[in-house]
């Protein structure tokens, strides 16, 4: 238990004033060097800590402290770990999931918001925060008539600050591009990395699917959309370097599956892949147990593992240590390397979420698209 909390409750139920003072004086959860204590204050029958860490029970009960309205649970926590959580509050047989009312740090995703537990010595990378000196790129919308999907698709395109028609740029195509903008600060990251010369000035196409579980699941239509609809349009509208080494494609989760599938379906088109927490489920023996949405994914990954060929020259992969897909990601690395692909693989003490993917962008982007920081002295 956290020492300050122990002091608070050592003589039994603390007074309301003492609790008020305690809460005003601390930030929550209470993070110590090797563990963390979660505190919930309120009337309830039961309170659980809900966290998404593979291998641990999804719901851990909090204990009411001496009949007060304070609830607490302590868990071990390695340094620099980060994970997202909520409280499940049970009262009168009703259950509700709530963000931690005492913790102002939230992470957002397409499903809402979660509270964030930042372990000892975790700090949010500076380059994910707006840098006042960095020039701002722009994002413009584009409409594509897609033959693959028989209809219009809307995409956004990031152009770096000081964009010039006379220059040729590398290209990065992003699956779940709008989500990367909203939840992983992609625009801020691009502006900052370009400003620091860690990546070159680059054009980024941000695609979004109306039905990602279907379109991103190793779907030939998605690969065709990228290669035959989107890419020719981008080549026509923007001054792009027409070489595979200057063309990358990325995604997270099912988006990573889509990226890998697109590159595998069109070899020698994309020289660079950035794959984050890829949902690379496969089944060597017997059926998989991940549910029907994964059926086409497993079919693709099984086929890929039989004949990976060379989807790209360089592939950056990352995965959270606390994800259920860690095994699948780890097992892909030697397979790719055995086929002559340069792979950089990183793990983080984090789970399947946007801030994990955000925190890895600098390493991934700067390795795949090295910037001119060595040569440019402005």
């Amino acid at each position: 238990m956290n020492p300050d909390l122990r002091k608070l409750v050592r003589r039994g139920a603390p007074s309301k004033t003492a609790i008020d003072r305690f809460i005003a004086k601390h930030t929550f959860p209470l993070v110590d060097k090797t563990d963390v204590t979660f505190i919930f204050r309120g009337n309830a029958d039961r309170v659980f800590l809900r966290r998404w860490i593979y291998g641990l029970s999804a719901a851990q009960p909090l204990q009411r402290l001496h009949g007060s309205d304070l609830w607490a649970v302590t868990m071990e926590l390695p340094e620099e770990l980060r994970f997202e959580y909520k409280f499940e509050v049970v009262q009168d047989s009703k259950r509700r999931l709530v963000v931690d009312p005492l913790n102002p740090v939230w992470a957002h995703d397409p499903f809402g918001a979660n509270s964030v537990c930042q372990g000892y010595r975790y700090t949010r990378p500076e380059w994910t925060l707006e840098e006042p000196e960095a020039r701002r790129g722009s994002v413009q919308s584009l409409s594509i008539e897609s033959n693959a999907y028989h209809g219009k698709r809307e995409i956004d395109v990031y152009l770096p600050a000081r964009f010039r028609r006379a220059r040729n740029y590398p290209l990065l195509i992003v699956h779940d591009g709008h989500d990367y903008l909203r939840f992983a600060e992609l625009k801020t990251v691009l502006d900052n990395l370009i400003h620091c010369l860690e990546i070159p000035e680059i054009i980024v196409a941000l695609t979004q699917s109306p039905d990602r579980l279907k379109e991103y699941a190793g779907n030939p239509l998605q690969a065709k959309f990228i290669a035959k609809d989107l890419l020719p349009l981008l080549m026509d509208k923007f001054p792009l370097i027409d070489e595979p080494r200057a063309r990358g494609i990325m995604g997270a989760s099912f988006g990573a599956v889509a990226a890998l599938h697109a590159a595998w379906s069109h070899p020698d088109l994309y020289g660079r892949l950035l794959l984050q927490s890829g949902s690379f489920a496969f089944s060597d023996i017997g059926p998989h147990e991940r549910g029907p949405a994964f059926d086409p994914v497993v079919r693709f990954v099984n086929e890929f593992r039989q004949a990976p060929n060379q989807p790209a020259e360089k592939i950056y992969m990352s995965c959270g240590v606390y994800e259920s897909l860690i095994y699948e990601n780890r097992s892909l690395v030697p397979l790719l390397q055995a086929h002559g692909i340069r792979v950089r693989y990183e793990e983080a003490r984090d789970a399947h979420n946007w801030e994990n993917w955000r925190d890895r962008l600098r390493n991934g982007l700067s390795w795949l698209f090295p910037g001119p920081l060595w040569m440019v002295y402005e």
Partner: protein, 304 residues
């Protein structure tokens, strides 16, 4: 020599210091295809500015003289290969020198090894520079740029343009591109006896050798490297633009190694707001500039 101009502009103050009231020429070849975009510069310095357009001139020369362009490209490829080979040797030598600086031992026993390790790096640097200069000399001998028809016109026009200016500014940017273009058009001769104000990469090309460095690259730390010979206009000074951001100030041993490696040439920081004013070969005044000492600490640069 000035520090970077993107945060703190002190170019105008430098021109005032030199008493330059009228027309100045500027070299923005380091900006590559952004060359010539000097509106902000003109507004800041409040004087007529003519951009010498070396980057564009070089593109015209290359477009019209294919064999020369191929030879130029081939020379660059050979320099890149030399750089790769140099790096293969530099890495273990630097690691050895650093280990010796970090190890505990009787100083009488340790010091000869430290000195020898640093001497090895210095010898490698000298050899690398000599090999690069050899490539430049061979290119000059074979292709004689100063006599090449496409180039001579440009050189004459540049000579006239420079003669009409009271001072020359050399902007920062891509240091290799800047140096290549300045060498191509024989700028060393044209800059002789001129008032020059140079910042960042512009300051780097004025020295005897160009050293590139960055301790905070996302893919890991790299050793500082000799990239090329400079114009040799300013001797005994190695400018370190944005040293406050590029160097690891927590690692005094590494900084001390840098100083000892290039001694007696002084490694001088050029951060935002830095000014080094040279007159008759001496430092006449300095502001916000420091030289790196062999113990990894800084000494404020003062007038000599």
């Amino acid at each position: 020599m000035l520090g970077p101009q993107n945060q703190q502009l002190n170019l105008r103050a430098a021109l005032d210091l030199l008493g330059i009231a009228s027309r100045v020429g500027v070299i923005t070849a380091g900006w590559r295809d952004a060359e010539g975009d000097i509106k902000e510069l003109e507004v800041h310095i409040g004087r007529p500015v003519i951009d010498l357009m070396l980057y564009q001139r070089a593109n015209e020369v290359f477009a019209r003289d294919e064999p020369f362009f191929r030879a130029h490209r081939e020379r660059q490829n050979r320099i890149k290969e030399l750089q790769r080979l140099y790096r293969l040797r530099l890495r273990p030598m630097s690691a050895a020198a650093y280990s010796l600086l970090s190890t505990e031992s009787d100083s009488h026993l340790l010091r000869p090894h430290e000195r020898a390790a640093i001497a090895q790096i210095r010898a490698l640097d000298r050899q690398h520079l000599k090999l690069i200069q050899g490539l430049h000399e061979a290119f000059e001998r074979e292709w004689r740029p100063s006599e090449r028809p496409g180039l001579t016109d440009h050189r004459e026009s540049l000579e006239q343009a420079v003669a009409a200016c009271d001072a020359l500014l050399i902007a920062g940017g891509h240091v290799a591109v800047l140096m290549n273009r300045m060498r191509l058009f024989g700028m060393k001769e044209l800059l002789r006896d001129r008032a020059i104000i140079a910042w960042s990469a512009g300051a780097m090309v004025l020295g005897e050798r160009i050293v590139v460095f960055h301790d905070h690259a996302p893919q890991g730390r790299r050793d500082a490297e000799i990239l090329d010979a400079g114009l040799g206009i300013k001797r005994n000074v190695l400018p370190l633009p944005y040293a406050d951001r590029r160097l690891d100030w927590n690692d005094r041993k590494r900084l001390g190694l840098l100083a000892r490696r290039f001694a007696p040439t002084r490694c001088i920081t050029l951060n935002s707001g830095s000014v080094l004013h040279f007159q008759d070969g001496r430092i006449a005044s300095a502001n916000n500039a420091s030289s790196l000492r062999s113990n990894g600490r800084l000494r404020v640069v003062r007038a000599e």
